[in-house]
Symmetry: C2
Subunit: 218 residues, 2 copies
């Protein structure tokens, strides 16, 4: 049986072990925690955001509310409901900007029809910085596609691309020098189109399936 993921903001007393106490109650109600952010943690108090799926939402809230360390509870919309799936774009500033333009434009068209797609970018140079950033994408919540936007990428970036594809992440590369295009799911020459295709590939409102394409380079 599937349950929806809920967002929950908790204001609590300060101190170490707060997270341990809260996750104990959540686990006791069969709660499946998707993510946790510690928004504030000062001597004055802590504010923690959870995304939780549980068959016993109301009972869990009641027990959390009864904890002496808990000052307040605020159920909120989850990040999935608000910001949705993420396309990550990284590489040289000039190309990242153009890919972002295409992706944002296309996400706008889908979001108007009820989708929730974000386009998140970082301009970065250097083999190690880019390889680190590629390897970190699966740790970004809700990341579904990665676009590598540059003129030359290879070496350890290629290795990182092959690793993250194994986690199910879709990787699109601009048509560029270096070995990264060989390792990507899809290679696109025009940066605007690369951004548009990345969004189409992850949008439920789009009829576009990579597996049905007859070529891999555009």
């Amino acid at each position: 049986m599937d349950f929806d993921s809920h967002g929950l903001l908790i204001d609590a007393d300060a101190g170490p072990g707060i997270l341990h106490r809260l996750t104990g109650v959540i686990a006791g109600h069969g709660g499946d925690i998707g993510s946790v952010s510690i928004i504030e943690n000062t001597a004055a108090g802590a504010r923690v955001y959870f995304e939780v799926t549980t068959p016993a939402w109301e009972a869990m809230l009641e027990e959390l509310r009864a904890l002496p360390i808990v000052r307040g509870l605020d159920p909120v919309k989850s990040m999935q409901e608000i910001y949705g799936k993420r396309v990550i774009v990284m590489g040289g500033g000039a190309q990242v900007g153009q890919v972002a333009m295409g992706a944002i434009n296309e996400a706008d068209r889908h979001n108007i029809r009820g989708e929730h797609i974000s386009v998140d970018t970082i301009p970065l140079v250097g083999e190690q910085a880019l390889a680190d950033a590629v390897r970190a994408v699966p740790r970004l919540p809700r990341a579904r596609a990665l676009v590598l936007a540059g003129s030359l990428m290879g070496g350890d970036i290629e290795t990182a691309v092959r690793e993250v594809r194994l986690t199910g992440l879709l990787v699109i590369s601009l048509n560029m020098a270096g070995s990264v295009p060989d390792a990507a799911d899809l290679v696109v020459s025009d940066p605007l189109q690369a951004g548009v295709m990345a969004v189409m590939a992850i949008a439920d409102t789009a009829k576009f399936t990579l597996g049905r394409l007859h070529r891999r380079v555009f």
Copy 2:
């Protein structure tokens, strides 16, 4: 005494309560958890990413490694080290794209000099969707500035802007119809410049301080 925040990937057995067990060990070593992402959680196993600051990093790793549920530990660079501070841009697709262009270009110039600034965007329409998204920005890890990019924003979006500014978030608004510009820290007419200014305002490598500006509207 300040300690650096470390990234840590943990592969563990599947099952409820995993997070409770892991956070117990971390708390026992005075670990201050900045964020947690559950990357994978299937019947086959769980993969959890922590950002932790602790005075007893090595001892903590050792005790975590000794837990029967832990299959592997992998210290990694933290998201702060890789993706750094975030500028969030939201609103209509046309304007969000232009603000992103300016911000990505400016972030490129700072990141080349050692900064780490990401530019994250979502095209969104509708008062409630935007107000929800504005209120959620403080729950986004590492978010430092928000740019509202549209032609008309007011009502509950204005209220949300006033709320998030109280958390220390910098809010820049395009010069637009509606009451949102009245509530923002800074109002900029040109979307490219709005993106550039947002990045300059949060970059340690830039000499630009909002508090020293003699006007609030550009």
